[in-house]
Amino acid sequence: MKRLFSAAICAACVACLPEDRSGSVDALVYLRDPAGTAYSSGVAPVENLDSLRELRGRDIELRRSSRIEVGLDLAGVRVTVDPGKPFALEYAIDEDGVVIPGDRESFLALSLYRNLDRAASILREHGHEPVRRLQVYYLPRYDNFVAGDGRLVFTDNAAFLPLGRGFIIVPSFLLSDLPLLLNEGVMAHEFGHAVVHQELFGDVDEAPQESSADPGWRIAHRHLSAMHEGVADLIGFAVTGDPDFIGPSLATDRNLAEPRSFLAFDLSSIELLPADALDDRLDPHGLGSIMARTVYEFWPRTEGNRLTEDDRGRLLTLTVRALRALEFAPEVFTLAAFPNELARLLDESERAAACEVLRLRFAPLQSRLTACGGA
């Protein structure tokens, strides 16, 4: 009798939910104007859905009530991920069949899913096939053994978590402009981290020797961190066409259209290890941005000075191929490895122009530019 009663209550609750949808639906989302950089609300297709209600699709699945715990044990820092429960989107379907989100979080989450799915679809068109569906840990509980409950500390950010095969999306409190999760370029940047990780290392929890104390491996990982950010910036640009895709969310010096050189000081900041590994303050974003700006500068243009959609598509295709060709090992891998491999994949006439830029912008690592004849 008790079970019947519970079942009746559950059935009544479920009975008044709108029908779940799959495949492609038209939905009210927050999106970027394809012709420019402005964002606004509009109706757009949300595709590749297995379940609209649970925001689960071919390549992306949102999760709620998840938990990320950063602890310490005898082996070192330990990260555990509790994936939580399926998402519970609130929505209605209007007379035209358009999905209207039923509250603010559903509005944001639906737009977020669309941004990540679009990035995944574009990367598939250019040779990257995800080995598994990636989870999106939406506003997770974040516990750190030093700081405690980090939910009020870790805000206004988004990050790729290889261990959890997914992304962490945290609340937007401080940014008054476009929240990061609504920024198509930022979400493509985060998806780019997943692309880099899979194409370099496959379906693994972490990069090789990530916790190694060996100075050679530690330096290689510092170069890798910077490269990760640079390639992710390139993917964010290629998906949106905006070299300053972060700008609508955050005033920061990451505009790919503004050239920057990699200096001896930058190389020192990577290769001079701090005495205490836990005191590592290397910020890979600026260094990666230098690499991304260099690629933006030398990338062949078919129409005048701007990179067309076809040019950006070719950049994505060769990015995936270059990542697969890279060797990650101490003394071999540097921040110059990726642009060097890209230059190798260009046609001979294009390579000459690319190498001219590479030698100018990456002078401290010129000996590593083997596609350009080395030193």
């Binding site: 209550i9 009544a12 609750c13 479920v14 009975a15 008044c16 939910l17 009210l28 927050y30 964002y39 606004s40 609300s41 949102l62 709620r64 009530s65 998840s66 939580g84 429960k85 998402f87 519970a88 989107l89 609130e90 929505y91 209605a92 209007d94 209207i100 989100p101 039923g102 509250d103 603010r104 979080e105 559903s106 509005f107 944001l108 989450a109 737009s111 939406y138 506003l139 609340p171 937007s172 008054s176 402009d177 476009l178 929240p179 609504l182």
Partner: protein, 176 residues
Amino acid sequence: MLRAALLLSMLLVTTAAQAEDFRVGADLSVFLREEAGGNRTVLPGLSLRGSYRLRPSIELAGLWMQAFDPKGRGPAEASSWHQRFAARAEFALPIRTSSLVLAAGPGVSLTRTTLFGDGEAIASTTLARFGASGALLFEVNLPHLTLRTGVEAFRAARRTDVAVVLGGTWPSRRAW
């Protein structure tokens, strides 16, 4: 419409019984709404209730709770008005001049949301969900007033909203 029907039915029943058996009340609450992503939004809430005392330790109560979530200041925002209607049985365990009250019964949640894009209202939805309402409360009986505090919960459509309440109830027609 639902609110009017609830209040009317209570008024009709009131005329047929003793004044002390009918009570009305109001609570202020901290409403913790469970969002789609599992996080909670904290909102101030207000609820009104009417109840009929069947026996000294059993009451039948109708409850209306509401909370308003205002539009924020970002480019993609929404304002929501949350309402909860519940009809439930309340069982009181007397402890001297106080009582521990356990309540349970069906309910309906009604949420009206307006989505804004760049400051302009772009769409509205009204979503109704059937569910279950419950509460654990502590009541202190004073001469003409019963103070109450505790936790209310409403479960519907894979969400559990919680409210911490503080308020009071009093006879609907005072025989003073």
